[in-house]
Symmetry: C3
Subunit: 139 residues, 3 copies
């Protein structure tokens, strides 16, 4: 069994953003020379997500509004977590909806994807450097 | 390390439906002859889910109503994504709640499940042929 | 490829609770002597979750209130599932938000975690013995 590990770094200037990281993940896969196996891509921070969906700007705005309706940022007094001095209580909730990680099959040295699948980093509490972990195991 | 791959095809005539795919997954596992490892089962489409829960019709109706309350289908003008000509904006949201994939342990050649765990395909935008990917790695 | 399996048992006396199980998972990892690979940690019951987030009491109260707002326990007649004689319809919904499982990279014999990542068992229908499955594959 071979294994591969890499960290991807992000520094999103706005509070929230969705970034298509599929090209970076494909580079990792090529570097790994793993042909058959599984790849794990996860946020290393608990106010961010990694998820798979469509690279369509309208949809991303829909996600933004929907998440804000399900777990509003303000008033920040709404969340007990913010009594710690943070203002990111909402981000911990939004991240549970969108998920921490994806696991993708590796077949013939490629991400084994359907026609529209793309991997996104979802930032819900930007303004600082944060990491995504890429781990591949296989042969 | 051995690996196995199969696509399962679905063509749901209604817009939304939950289908128990545990028997098909067990067949894949037998075909693979893998005894110890992990199995990944994921929707290859971004308006569908694979998830694990109970095979109980009342619960499935509860899911249907709950998801429709959290992310209503109509009016379709509600979603910017539908400006692309689609009417499935809600399906992209529902799928995030229910999830894209499950990873299940393989032990002694079996799905290593608790007493009530069953694997479901969740369709949120039916009326076309769609796929689920089954990937197994192990020995 | 090596593999390791263990069940962790819980008996939560209240209906709902979040328990940090990171120390138990680290013990499993040491016992396995696996240095590179992936670990799957999943609830074996369909009214419980395993998820990764922050070990902060205020946040856990925020989760509790948020989940109760998204999928209220009462009135139990609200859920068709409860016509079976159960009163845990809400627990099946809450678990979908928080997730069934996590997959974590194993690097150098350690859980490959960001600074605040901790693994939790989320109980949504306590008062009985329930299990979490730990499966590790790697080398």
């Amino acid at each position: 069994m071979k294994s591969y590990r890499k960290e991807l770094w992000f520094n999103v200037s706005s509070r929230r953003e969705f970034i298509n990281i599929t090209p970076e993940i494909q580079e990792c896969l090529m570097e790994s020379r793993i042909e058959e196996g599984m790849i794990l891509v996860n946020a290393m921070h608990i106010t961010a997500s990694v998820f798979i969906n469509d690279d369509e700007g309208g949809l991303h705005q829909d996600y933004e509004e929907w998440l804000e309706r399900l777990a509003p940022h303000a008033p920040i007094s709404r969340y007990r977590h913010n009594l710690t001095g943070e203002d990111n209580g909402d981000a911990h909730l939004k991240r549970q909806i969108m998920g921490r990680e994806v696991v993708v099959a590796i077949t013939g040295g490629q991400l084994d994807f359907g026609p529209w699948e793309q991997i996104f980093y979802g930032e819900f509490d930007g303004g600082r450097r944060k990491r995504v972990l890429v781990k591949i195991i296989g042969e």
